[in-house]
């Protein structure tokens, strides 16, 4: 307590993010906290599925690798880790971290934030936000996790735990919680919570504010993306934040990268709902105060909503896919013929069916590419089905074009995926009880 400034790094912006940027941050970032945000909306449902198959799993698949590499650095430099890598099973994830610490001979404490799993409290008559139909109309519901906020994380920070491991929490809350806790901000001060949420939102995707997912070598060049640095937030007691990165890392931080990230996945810039506040992003000020350094102020907010968002995962059947390529003279015409053949043969067997021409129309449709004549085209066919017997059919049919289809087809591939759908409902926050469990190594 009593600090004037704290420094928080974000070393991962999704489950599969690079490993070494977080190590560079922990080693050279002069950090108080390191956040790893590894839990997208669908990721937790997939994790719930792994937990069902093995009750000892269901935490982030990279938890072990990340913690093994990071833990010695974190302990040496006294950096506290806050991460949602607990995913669907924070308790077992916590035990795994303790096991790693014991192996490394490090004495640590882990504070586990859970209670986000509300599967047993689901009201099946509740209507989904996406479609307005009740949950009972979804065939097989496999998971339900509520987005917890800073009120669930702060008690964990009040302990002397080295690592705070959570399941589903709102991404910006991973950053807002240590800020509120260190500065003793009033939880009723919506202006401060709104500004802190702006900072958390800018940080939560890690490399997406340091030039990742921004670069375009023609109009928006970003240097040294092979060693892209992840961001460091230095936040002052009044809520003003400065975002920068470790010297010597690649990337770019400026008003353009900040604006793209500020609006990323924001449904309403005047009212961004989190469990902590309804934040107003519309009057945020971004100032470039040096090379790769920006100052952020002007976030605002209104009191937190009474309801929390709950992500509900359900089995959505199978995606059956096949691909094959054509190149040279009449490549487009031969690919189109191949697509027509498959469509005639099997499209009616699937609930949804789609033919894409990679290189022509697979991303933006035919309209925007109608004058283009690419040298090579890749046919991609996809079908959705609830029937396991049909789940491999598209790939098989595309592969059979080798001997039955147009000339010169090459590189056939086939894929089958089980689909996990996610819908959302709102739940009264009084029905949800966050829990805290402490574990200690030997």
């Amino acid at each position: 307590m009593g600090k004037e400034k704290i420094r928080i790094g974000c070393g991962a912006g999704f489950s599969g993010d690079r490993l070494e940027p977080s190590e560079i941050l922990a080693e050279k970032g002069n950090l108080d906290y390191l956040v790893l945000e590894c839990l997208a909306e669908r990721t937790i449902s997939l994790a719930q599925k792994r937990k069902k198959e093995n009750p000892l799993l269901g935490y982030d698949p990279l938890l072990e690798r990340r913690i093994k590499r990071l833990l010695p650095i974190l302990i040496k430099n006294k950096v506290r880790l806050i991460t949602n890598m607990g995913a669907a099973n924070p308790l077992e994830g916590g035990k795994k971290i303790i096991e790693i610490a014991d192996q490394l001979g490090l004495r640590i404490k882990v504070a586990i934030v859970h209670g986000d799993d509300v599967f047993n409290q689901l009201n099946r008559e509740e209507k989904t936000l996406e479609s307005g139909v009740p949950l009972s109309s979804y065939s097989s519901i496999v998971s339900a996790n509520a987005y917890l906020g800073i009120d669930a994380i702060i008690p964990a920070l009040e302990t002397d735990a080295d690592i705070i491991l959570t399941g589903r929490v709102a991404d910006p809350s991973l950053f807002l919680a240590p800020i509120v806790n260190e500065f003793g901000w009033d939880l009723m001060n919506s202006t401060l919570l709104g500004q802190g949420t702006v900072l958390g939102h800018l940080m939560e995707c890690a490399g997406q504010i340091t030039g990742g997912y921004f670069a375009d070598p023609v109009v928006k060049p970003v240097p040294d993306m092979d060693i892209l640095g992840h961001p460091i937030l230095e936040v002052s007691k009044d809520g003003t934040g400065i975002i920068r990165k470790v010297d010597g890392t690649g990337g770019l931080i400026n008003t353009q990268t900040a604006k793209e990230q500020l609006l990323y996945e924001v449904l309403d810039p005047f009212a961004y709902y989190t469990p902590d506040v309804i934040a107003d992003f519309s009057k945020v000020q971004i100032e470039e105060i040096g090379k790769n350094q920006i100052r952020i102020s002007g976030g605002n907010g209104k009191p937190a909503p009474q309801t929390l968002k709950v992500s509900v995962g359900y089995d959505a059947g199978y995606l059956s896919e096949g691909e094959i390529s054509y190149a040279g003279a009449n490549a487009k015409e031969r690919a189109f013929l191949a697509g027509e053949i498959i469509e005639k043969r099997i499209s009616k067997a699937f609930d949804e069916f789609r033919v894409d021409y990679i290189g022509v129309s697979s991303l933006h449709g035919l309209e925007l590419s109608k004058d283009s004549t690419p040298y090579e085209v890749r046919l991609r066919v996809a079908g959705k089905t609830q029937d396991p017997a049909l789940s491999t059919l598209v790939g098989e049919e595309v592969e059979a074009l080798y001997t039955n289809g147009p000339a010169g087809g090459g590189g056939a591939r086939k894929y089958t995926h089980q689909l996990m759908g996610v819908v959302s409902i709102l739940m009264d926050r009084d029905l949800i009880s966050p829990k805290l469990t402490l574990l200690e190594s030997n």
């Binding site: 909306e41 669908r42 449902s45 936000l129 996406e130 997912y213 921004f214 375009d216 109009v219 928006k220 353009q256 604006k259 793209e260 990230q261 500020l262 609006l263 990323y264 996945e265 924001v266 449904l267 309403d268 810039p269 005047f270 992003f281 519309s282 009057k283 945020v284 000020q285 971004i286 002007g298 959505a316 995606l319 949804e352 069916f353 789609r354 894409d356 990679i358 697979s362 991303l363 933006h364 449709g365 035919l366 309209e367 925007l368 991609r380 996809a382 079908g383 959705k384 689909l419 996990m420 759908g421 996610v422 819908v423 959302s424």
Partner: protein, 104 residues
């Protein structure tokens, strides 16, 4: 004279369920008003009619000099169940930037 948006603006696409979010940010703030005038809910809907199936709402942010479009029913049921190549619609930021406007 018609100019492609990609010459004067940049942006990022995001997704929430079956809702596509597209930001549009001028490189030079001087072009912000021209974007506000020309890149409207109607013109975006017309430009991407094959993709945008639902209601479109535009937020104009004069302090940030940015525009955000919220496009419902535009991701073929959304990232978790769509059978499209780009289930998130992440590449669609560049589809918006293909639009041409009159800069005069």
């Amino acid at each position: 004279m018609k100019t492609k948006l990609s010459k004067i603006a940049h942006g990022r696409a995001g997704d929430k369920g079956n809702t596509l979010l597209l930001s549009l940010i001028p490189y030079d703030p001087i072009n912000f008003e021209k974007l506000v005038k020309n890149v409207t809910e109607e013109s975006v809907k017309a430009h991407l009619s094959h993709q945008l199936k639902g209601e479109i709402k535009r937020f104009v942010l004069p302090e940030l000099k940015a525009i955000q479009f919220i496009c419902q029913d535009s991701l073929g049921t959304g990232v978790t169940t769509s059978i499209a190549m780009d289930t998130h619609g992440k590449s669609l930021s560049y589809a918006l930037l293909e639009m041409e406007i009159d800069l005069n």
